[in-house]
Amino acid sequence: MPQVHVRLFAGLHDLVGKRDLVLDLPPGATIGLLRERLGEEYPVVQPFLSTLVCAVDEEYVPSGHLLGDGDDVALIPPISGG
């Protein structure tokens, strides 16, 4: 059962009140499933999911990306650097 490390930034960090989470996911879980689970476990995150993208090991990945045990997943709301 893959366990993933989830990083939170900016508004998500403020809303959830944590910089990091650990999520247990079923085998064969994708980024898409992780997003659903997040919305269920942290309803405050729900409104952000539509514009959120994810990065695994510091690279942006699509919703279909398969997650493995120990993966490092970052939740990336729309960026505004510069």
């Binding site: 990945v61 960026i79 650097g81 510069g82």
Partner: protein, 146 residues
């Protein structure tokens, strides 16, 4: 020279890092904290970043610029944490033989930084604050290892 830092940015050392004896032109871009955005008066900004990935993405932008323009070197510094009005949040320096490439490459680099680098800014006003939602980064259609 690439860095994500909480310290004030030093333009002189960045320009010195990208300059070389074959370079006739250096273009340096300063992103500066404005006192106003969309009609609201800004007290200060707070920047957050996924630091390791942001640094990696700054380097990726630089690789993209080097592949696309005949430039000699590029360097980027991005400050995070609390920044007051008038302070510099971003420095991008590009050196090249001639000026046209330096201008075009530097402009392109700033655009790509804003599109790809995981950094966020919160505007703090007299009566509240808000994390600014800018670009949704492009995600590859198919994952590298998926």
């Amino acid at each position: 020279m690439f860095a994500i830092t909480r310290e004030p940015l030093d333009p002189r050392s960045l320009v010195e890092a990208v300059r070389c004896d074959e370079c006739g032109a250096v273009v340096l871009f300063y992103g500066v904290v404005r006192n106003e955005n969309l009609g609201r008066s800004v007290r200060y900004l707070e920047y957050d970043a996924y630091e390791a990935m942001a640094l990696k993405k700054l380097r990726a932008v630089a690789d993209e610029v080097r592949a696309k323009f005949p430039v000699t070197d590029i360097g980027v510094l991005h400050r995070i944490g609390r920044l007051e009005v008038g302070e510099t949040s971003l420095l991008v320096a590009v050196s090249s033989g001639h000026r046209r490439e330096a201008f075009e490459a530097c402009h392109y680099a700033v655009d790509r930084i804003k599109e790809t680098v995981p950094i966020w800014k919160k505007e703090v006003w007299e009566d509240g604050s808000e994390w600014i939602e800018g670009h949704v980064p492009e995600v590859p259609k198919v994952t590298g290892d998926g």
